[in-house]
Symmetry: C2
Subunit: 101 residues, 2 copies
């Protein structure tokens, strides 16, 4: 049994990855660090929508930033993030091949 406080942090953590736009952003950043407008271009979404989600991801410590001139580059905050994405990915692929257990 996981302590209540940690369960709350855990659900916050998973909820952050439980949105397609945010997951798309994180998946992009696995490839390379990227500035805001480039992310928006790649995902074909408005700068504002992306910027809002990036603030969310930053508050949740999923990404970190480096400002260079006018641009702000975003990158994954640490290796765990990519690891969690890939583990979930492995899971759904297995689950799909192997419907029950």
């Amino acid at each position: 049994m996981i302590e209540e406080e940690n369960l709350e942090m855990l659900s916050d953590f998973y909820r952050t990855m439980g949105d397609l736009t945010r997951l798309r952003i994180l998946d992009l950043l696995r490839r390379e660090r990227m500035c805001v407008y480039k992310i928006a271009m790649e995902l074909n979404m408005t700068q504002s929508a992306i910027s809002h989600q990036l603030q969310y991801l930053r508050q949740m410590d999923f990404v970190r930033t480096e400002k260079i001139g006018k641009q702000v580059f975003y990158e994954l905050a640490d290796d765990h993030i990519e690891k969690m994405i890939l583990l979930g990915y492995e899971h759904i692929k297995e689950a799909h091949n192997d419907p029950k257990n």
Copy 2:
């Protein structure tokens, strides 16, 4: 880069764990299989609220059921679920000790 279709499945998967009530239920079921009213008791929530979330978890293949008499016992659908919970748990514990990378 993960294919769009799989990213969608992945965000659905994480969104399922991104709710405190559902995560509490899953964490309970790690311990033992349990019938609905017992889950409701343990979590101090109404039978209806629990039942709705259990249907959700069932549709997402997080749990499976066995009906015995009047009772319906729920258990984790497979080992991956517990693994994913524990991995997330490890992650947040590390992240907390080790704020930046």
